[in-house]
């Protein structure tokens, strides 16, 4: 299972094992991470699953869809260059070791 490190806004780090094929959002929610709201349940419709991807990992992720890019304009905390929606990040062995930060709030 790919390991993912989530760094909460207060700096707390959590390392999660998330099954391949799951989205990062699903992995975070099933591990009771409170910094991801995911109101639309992964529908790429709410922008409440915002994460900021470690710059070293950004290039390893498939490019965001047009819808994701548009939604990233509408996050509660303004996006950064390396922001993504965690429901659109599908985990695989290639992403083992992924590091992301959680924004201060999602709504």
């Amino acid at each position: 299972m790919p390991k993912v490190t989530l760094i909460a806004h207060d700096g707390t780090r959590r390392e999660l094992d998330i099954p391949s094929g799951w989205s990062l959002m699903e992995g975070a929610v099933q591990n009771d991470v409170s910094g991801i709201v995911a109101e639309c349940g992964g529908g790429c419709a709410c922008a409440t699953c915002h994460v900021v991807v470690d710059p070293n990992w950004l290039a390893k992720l498939p490019a965001p869809s047009a819808t994701e890019l548009d939604l990233l304009e509408c996050t509660a905390v303004p996006r950064q260059a390396n922001s993504r929606l965690s429901c659109q990040i599908k985990l695989s062995a290639d992403l083992d070791g992924l590091i992301v930060q959680l924004p201060e709030r999602q709504t």
């Binding site: 099954p19 094929g21 799951w22 989205s23 699903e26 929610v29 099933q30 591990n31 009771d32 109101e39 639309c40 349940g41 992964g42 529908g43 790429c44 419709a45 922008a47 047009a66 819808t67 548009d70 939604l71 304009e73 509408c74």
Partner: protein, 403 residues
């Protein structure tokens, strides 16, 4: 004020429990639900879950451990059969009783069943819960011909999935256009074209008279005697709010449990939230009953605030989305009473928004593959921002710059 009991472990029930704990309530808290699954997301059931290999555990709002950590007593797989407001007691289907001091009802809805002869055939399916979705998914695998009755959101989403799985799909709609209740005719026309271009046969103004099972196999018979062969029939003709428990206890219901803008019923100890309510929202003059994640979540927060005696009036803008193929429809506001439509972008481009106006007042916006329009419109509707029709219509105007 303990204990607080929440009936219905769906989107709204879960949110009530969550908001109570976040709001500092530390006493006894019980969440009762008649489904056996942990509380889960319904929207993916007619979308991703049907289409892909997907572990149901990916749909849970929270892992099981969350509830013990939060000291929430979860009672799943049991339904509340009686509410006694005199003794403040609930009777459960397993014969046990649960005492409450304050109660939240979040009982949701159930599907409206197809009221025609033959509809009790096991190949006639519905989609409301995870059990339904597991069943429909299994049946889809062994089916090549699917007939969908009802061209609402759920019917059309299933049609899109079934096409993606290579099935032959017919959609039957009683009214003259798809999604007739909620979107403007031009949006209906757009979605009908999208489905037809993906190979779905869309039949409007078509009334189902019976489900027949002759020597030739299963079929849907229409009022004009046309028979449409099917191996699987999926019905999506709307829902009925679960109000019986409340109504039998003398709580006022009017196709929905009637609540005020604080999610309070006529019993001061009882609030209600989500799909089951006919509610007040201070943004609107009329009461509404809505079926959406937004309403379940936001109204549940209001219900929790009332339970904590820090009432906050419900004043949130409704929003909703639907995914069909690669088309994302996002809706916000309530368009009832519009007198003019303003189009932003052109349907032919596959990305456009429809602004519903009453006079100069913006009521609602439907966005098709234009999420920014949707998000901005939500903010405007909440703030009551005036947005000139010419700005709405002009794709060169950056809506985010209009405050």
């Amino acid at each position: 004020m303990p204990p607080i009991v929440v009936v219905g472990a769906g989107q709204a029930g879960l949110q009530v429990v969550d908001s109570l704990r976040r709001g500092g309530y530390t006493d006894a808290l019980t969440l009762i639900g008649d489904e056996t699954w942990l509380p889960y997301q319904r929207p993916p059931l007619s979308k991703k879950f049907l289409l892909e290999e997907m572990d149901p555990a990916r749909l849970y709002f929270r892992p099981a451990a969350h509830f013990s950590k939060q000291d929430v007593t979860l009672r799943l797989g049991v339904s509340v059969t009686r509410l006694n407001r005199t003794t403040c007691e609930l009777t459960l289907s397993d014969g046990s009783t649960v005492h409450y001091d304050r109660l939240a009802l979040a009982t949701g809805t159930r599907v409206r069943t197809l009221p025609v002869p033959g509809a009790d055939d096991p190949r006639v399916c519905y989609l409301r819960g995870l059990d339904d979705a597991v069943r429909v998914k299994a049946r889809l695998v062994e089916t090549s011909r699917v007939v969908i009755v009802g061209a609402g959101f759920i019917g059309l989403e299933i049609a899109a999935v079934a096409r993606a799985l290579g099935k032959e799909v017919t959609v039957i709609e009683a009214q003259g256009r798809v999604m007739p209740r909620v979107v403007a005719p031009l949006v209906s026309a757009y979605f009908q074209r999208v489905h037809e271009s993906h190979g779905v046969r869309v039949m409007t103004d078509a009334q189902v008279q019976a489900v027949v099972n002759s020597g030739a196999g299963l079929a849907v018979r229409l009022r004009d005697a046309t028979e449409i062969p099917a191996e699987l029939i999926i019905v999506g003709i709307g829902v009925v709010p679960n109000t019986e428990l409340a109504a039998a206890a003398g709580i006022i219901c009017d196709s929905g449990i009637v609540v005020d803008e604080f999610a309070r019923t006529n019993d001061p100890a009882i609030v209600a939230a989500g799909d089951c309510t006919r509610h007040r929202n201070t943004l609107f003059a009329e009461p509404h009953r809505l079926e959406s994640v937004q309403n379940a979540v936001d109204q549940a927060k209001v219900a929790a605030a009332s339970l904590l005696d820090v009432p906050v009036a419900y004043a949130q803008v409704p929003w909703f989305w639907s995914d069909q193929y690669d088309v994302k429809l996002q809706m916000t506001g309530i368009s009832t009473g519009y007198d003019e439509l303003v189009l932003r972008g052109v349907p032919e481009s596959g990305a456009f928004s429809v602004f519903y106006y009453a006079g100069e007042r913006l009521l609602a916006v439907d966005s098709i593959n234009r999420p920014v329009d949707h998000m901005v419109a939500r903010r405007w509707l909440l703030a009551g921002t005036k947005i000139a029709k010419h700005s709405a219509a002009d794709v060169a105007v950056d809506l985010k710059s209009v405050i």
